[in-house]
């Protein structure tokens, strides 16, 4: 009886009937990004960002829409409709599910950046001059707070950006607690106003878990100096078979070695190597 009940409930929920979130019609200005760059390169839309969006989309990263009003990231449920516009500003119309973080796109009309009205929040979030940088006291406090989070492992990449007093959290984590804690801890910081939480909790399916285990073992063996007791400078995000390498290494050769090692892991579909080479870094 219980099983039957649960199966029926699952079927009803699975077919979108019952308690599922209702999609709302929405039209907004935004930026069409790749899933990878929207979770990594948070902040203003610069040439570097556009290059990242286009390159990773070409390599298979799905399109997402970055809503200009709050920096929210929405997975596009019909990716073909948005694929050609990755790396462009656009006026997007579609059925939006805010809690689920998804949009079914009806139209994506590319627009010039200058076409976005100057008084729209979208303008604030896309322009460099609004962004706080390293050295700003509130920015530094947010950075330190996130750096000290206890449950962050080599599989958790948590990043943020700050436009005026608006903090946008982003990245990938394997622990639900990290998503909640990042929000709570940043919320307590004086000088922080609005927070948009784009931090995605990754699924723990057996294939992704095997890839994580192999990537971690290989990189620790060959690049052990980037790992220590409570953390690492190399981050390994694994999402549906894709491996995303993030963080800092001291040499280009280390970045290449990490890339090669992850590329030969059975079950891994694609490696996005976004490691930054920072000569002179401590390791």
């Amino acid at each position: 009886m219980i099983r039957f009940g649960l199966v029926l409930a699952g079927l009803l929920l699975g077919t979108g009937i019952g308690l599922a979130e209702k999609a709302v019609d929405a039209t907004f200005h935004g930026y069409v990004d790749s899933d990878i760059c929207a979770h990594v390169m948070v902040g203003p839309i610069t040439d570097k960002r556009i290059e990242c969006s286009k390159n990773t989309a070409k390599d298979g990263s799905n399109p997402v829409v970055l809503r200009g009003t709050d920096g929210g990231v929405f997975e596009v449920k019909n990716p073909k409709a948005a694929k050609k516009t990755v790396g462009e500003f656009a006026k997007v119309t579609g059925k939006l599910k805010v809690k689920a973080g998804t949009i079914k796109v009806e139209s994506v009309e590319p627009v010039e950046r200058s076409a976005i009205p100057a008084d729209e929040v979208a303008t604030t979030l896309m322009e460099v001059r609004h962004y706080r940088r390293s050295g700003d006291p509130v920015y530094e406090q947010v950075r330190h707070t996130l750096a000290m989070m206890p449950y962050v492992s080599q599989f958790d990449f948590i990043s943020f950006t700050m436009a005026d007093d608006h903090v946008i959290l982003t990245g990938w984590t394997v622990r639900v607690n990290n998503r909640k804690q990042a929000y709570r801890r940043v919320q307590e910081i004086e000088g922080v106003g609005k927070i948009t939480n784009n931090l995605e909790v990754l699924p723990m399916g057996p294939n992704d878990m095997n890839i994580r285990a192999q990537a971690s073992a290989r990189l620790k063996r060959l690049l052990g100096r980037y790992f220590w007791g409570s953390g690492s400078t190399i981050k390994i995000s694994v999402k549906n078979g894709d491996v995303i390498l993030l963080g800092n290494v001291a040499r280009e050769a280390d970045s290449e070695l990490a890339n090669i090692q992850c590329n030969t892991i059975p079950g891994a579909f694609h490696v996005f190597n976004l490691l930054r080479v920072t000569p002179g870094m401590k390791n």
């Binding site: 948070v42 460099v128 449950y151 950006t161 007791g229 409570s230």
Partner: protein, 265 residues
């Protein structure tokens, strides 16, 4: 007009389906949260604490336990190698809870239903306490820990406790179970190699005066003491994990702070 009719029909269908779903959920939720772990199967048979011994024998090794600096009454162990230790793991398999009756008790006197009522709730409590920091998985993996746990010192009551049960879905147990002197033992082992990564003996007897004598006891006020005890033991396990994950001062803190440089556009 036809739009209005279509809308009304859709509304009726929507209401009916919602009603069915609510009914189904009520039925499903009225059951005891027994097996919430990925590990299915019935609870192992109860064992007896060996007479004249200081411990139950549940843990692999008791000799390496030390008093925990902040959790009063807990003896704990953590693997000393930081790279191979607790922080190396990101998921957990929760094994069925084991039960050890007092040394002069008779394990066979605990009916199976009583045993599963007791262990089912405790397993639910510990799974709830850890799942947001160690997602629960089914399969062994080098990144998954296996959590073994035992309720030690369970005593069997004389018989069922009389009186009406406030919850209609609950059934009285044939024998009540006394958890007054129960302590809890935990062990976290590598899910592939079985190597002990952390262990704890929680000597806090939180169930003083508490007993369980009905299924679904956690929903009834008269068994509140037992529910609170299980929840608190689970909470103390979480405290132990939280403390072990705190970034230590000095070099660890410095490296964590220096290495954290967010990407920007």
């Amino acid at each position: 007009m036809s739009t209005i009719r279509n809308y009304s029909t859709r509304k009726v269908v929507w209401c009916l389906l919602s009603a069915v779903l609510v009914a189904v959920l009520v039925v499903a939720c009225s059951q005891q949260p027994a097996s919430t772990s990925s590990t299915t199967g019935s609870a192992p048979a109860a064992k007896r604490v060996p007479a004249g011994q200081d411990n139950s024998g549940f843990l692999t090794d008791y000799s390496n336990l030390d008093p925990h600096p902040t959790i009063e009454g807990a003896l704990t162990y953590i693997h000393p190698d930081k790279l191979q230790g607790l922080r190396n793991y990101v998921a957990m398999i929760v094994d069925p809870v084991e039960v050890y009756v007092v040394s002069d008790g008779d394990p066979s006197s605990i009916p199976e239903e009583s045993l599963s009522t007791l262990t089912g709730y405790f397993q639910y409590a510990i799974t709830s306490a850890v799942a947001d920091v160690f997602p629960i998985v089914d399969e062994p993996n080098p990144l998954a820990l296996r959590l073994r746990s035992a309720l030690v010192g369970v005593d069997v009551g004389e018989g069922a406790i009389g009186g009406e049960l406030s919850d209609e879905t609950a059934q009285p147990l044939a024998r009540s179970i006394n958890i007054s002197d129960v302590i809890v033992e935990f062990e976290l082992v590598d899910s592939e190699s079985g190597e002990v990564i952390a262990a704890a003996v929680d000597n806090a007897t939180l169930g003083s005066g508490a007993q369980v004598s009905a299924t679904h006891f956690s929903r009834m006020e008269r068994f509140e003491a037992a529910k609170s005890a299980f929840d608190e033991w689970a909470g103390r396990l979480r405290d132990f994990l939280d403390a072990a994950h705190e970034i230590e001062g000095g070099e660890d803190e410095e490296r964590a702070n220096e290495s954290y440089q967010p990407y920007s556009g």
